[in-house]
């Protein structure tokens, strides 16, 4: 293993995060605060509790998931697309690094950034509502696994994007709607039966549900199904990246 190479990519990416620390952290903190004001205060005054949990507290796991998913994807996709755009990718391709090591460096850094942001959101949420974490280890397990999985997904976008606009399409048009419709701000039990069934087709529902279970021991679907879903997406991303690398990264042709 080229550990120095992995470390170089990881530190290089984290350094970019440090340089833009204010933007990186300010945006999720402000967004989270706005969600609490809009959803927590405005809607929370009408829906006081869901599954016995205060509404403001209930939406915390969903908000963290929303941020983790979008940040993991955008961090990893930008991190890999940027050297392609500036042509500095030549150096990574010419270095004695395996495709696994390249992915480890980029995805590791993107997932780390998301984890930091996720922790900051938990702290921010504490200023607005009581946040209880019944299963901290399970919470960390979901947080880390989701960060890695969606960083891998972002890496795929970074490999395939043909422009900066391409980096935004999937997060804006696919991920954000799926998160909003995946029970971030409500329980699917509140929906009519037809829409409950439709919601079960949304993979993000399983992630949010499992993650919420680690906080309050309430969930829309079983913990096993949630874990299986996230692992399936993870394996899918790994297989897809492996296939793309075997074909020459799409950039070595």
């Amino acid at each position: 293993m080229n550990w120095y190479g992995i470390k170089a990519i990881y530190i290089h990416e984290m350094e970019r995060f440090r340089r833009t620390l204010f933007q990186s952290l300010a945006s999720p903190i402000i967004t989270t605060s706005l969600y609490f004001v809009v959803f927590g205060s405005a809607i929370g005054s009408r829906i006081t509790e869901i599954d016995g949990i205060n509404y403001g507290s209930y939406i915390v796991p969903g908000m963290i998931m929303l941020t983790i998913l979008t940040q993991s994807i955008s961090n990893a996709s930008f991190a890999f697309y940027f050297p392609r755009f500036t042509n500095t990718i030549y150096e990574i391709l010419a270095a004695p690094l395996s495709s696994f090591e390249i992915v480890l460096g980029f995805v590791g850094a993107a997932a780390s950034k998301s984890l930091i942001i996720g922790c900051v959101i938990i702290l921010t949420a504490n200023f607005f509502v009581d946040v209880r974490i019944d299963h901290p280890l399970l919470m960390m397990f979901f947080l880390i696994l989701t960060s890695i999985t969606f960083a891998l997904f972002g890496f795929i976008i970074g490999m395939y994007a043909e422009g900066f606009e391409g980096l935004q399409i999937i997060p804006i048009l696919v991920i954000t709607p799926l998160v909003f419709l995946g029970g971030s701000f409500y329980s699917i039990n509140m929906l009519p039966e037809f829409w409950q069934k439709i919601s079960l087709l949304n993979p993000v529902l399983y992630l949010i549900s499992g993650f919420r279970y680690s906080f309050y021991e309430v969930s829309d679907v079983s913990l096993f199904t949630s874990t299986l879903t996230i692992l399936t997406i993870l394996i899918g991303c790994i297989l897809f990246i492996t296939y793309t690398f075997s074909k020459g990264y799409r950039i070595k042709d």
């Binding site: 120095y4 500036t86 042509n87 030549y90 150096e91 990574i92 010419a94 270095a95 070595k252 042709d253």
Partner: protein, 314 residues
């Protein structure tokens, strides 16, 4: 001297079926400076990028230090460095971080003393904390060289190292290249500045339309393909070349006082002593004699033209 690089029957097609390299065979000896000449789009960069692992090639084998670059990519890449043609750098990073990052990518333990020495050698030390975007084009080119040398490679590829660099800096770069070579680094450079190849290289290859059309020692090439022109300035003007001089294909300049004869260095048909004797026999007094040898550039143009004509015929 042993070969550090062996390229056998390498062919490369791009996605759109454009053939970029066709059965390229080339051996590079350890310790030499090798120049790869060719017009734009000839395949120079594709060849270098194939060797360095930046692009995949379709058929053939490439070995560095007798190791296959695909099977033993870790070992071969560790000893290979590349300076790209474009100024591809991360603008917001400092020089210091950029160069150390490159060393890390190539699997080398951090060595700040070596990087300091390298930056000083390339006159970059006082710019180490500057961001890349604050540097001039020449300085950026030096940073690229520093990055390529950060892991102490044995084989260095310089893809158009002095493209868009002013004359003074170009000479500076040449000194850097010569110094590196003296320190034991084998250098392969692509260029279309023929004077660069002429000044630096030991051997030259000419590539056109993805094919290597010639490989030879620079001096032999100039000798083999070069033409020499002898210009004889006379005291009196010549109305018409006849008599003994008519057998030499002399041409007259506008003043009718300088007669020129071009001959191939390799041919034995021109005897200069006899030629001068014939000038004298015809009653002309010689004022001055000057000879001019064709440059690598003229040889290069001639070769490419011949090759293009052949391609059209086929």
């Amino acid at each position: 001297m042993k070969n550090i690089l062996e390229i056998n029957n390498v062919t490369k097609f791009y996605k759109n079926s454009v053939k970029a390299l066709e059965n390229v065979n080339l051996d590079i000896k350890e310790g030499e400076i090798f120049a790869l000449l060719g017009p734009n789009g000839a395949g120079k960069s594709t060849l270098i990028n194939s060797i360095c692992g930046i692009v995949n090639f379709n058929t053939g084998t490439i070995k560095i230090n007798n190791m296959d670059i695909i099977k033993n990519y870790r070992n071969t890449r560790k000893i290979t460095g590349i300076v790209p043609q474009e100024l591809n750098l991360e603008s917001f990073e400092t020089v210091w971080n950029n160069v150390n990052y490159s060393r890390g990518l190539f699997g080398k333990k951090p060595d700040h003393n070596y990087i300091e020495k390298l930056l000083k050698q390339l006159s970059l030390w006082d710019k180490k904390d500057n961001k890349i975007k604050e540097l001039s084009g020449g300085m950026k080119r030096r940073v690229l060289i520093a990055k390529a040398l950060s892991h102490q490679p044995k084989l260095l590829f310089l893809d158009e190292p002095t493209a868009s660099v002013d004359v003074e800096l170009r000479k500076d770069m040449w000194d850097v290249v010569k110094k590196l070579n003296k320190d034991g680094v084998t250098i392969i450079l692509t260029t279309h500045y023929i004077e660069e190849a002429e000044d630096l290289s030991d051997r030259v290859a000419v590539i056109n339309d993805g094919k290597i059309i010639l490989v030879d020692e620079k001096n032999k090439l100039i000798k083999k393909l070069g033409e020499k022109t002898i210009k004889i300035e006379l005291f009196e003007s010549v109305e018409k070349i006849n008599g003994n001089l008519s057998k030499y294909n002399f041409t007259l300049d506008q003043t009718n006082k300088i007669i020129s004869h071009t001959y191939n260095l390799n041919s034995n048909t021109t005897d200069i002593a006899e030629l001068l004797n014939d000038v004298k026999k015809d009653g002309y007094k010689i004022k001055d004699i000057n000879t001019e040898q064709s440059s690598l550039e003229e040889i290069f143009i001639k070769l490419i033209q011949e090759n293009n004509n052949e391609l059209v015929r086929n």
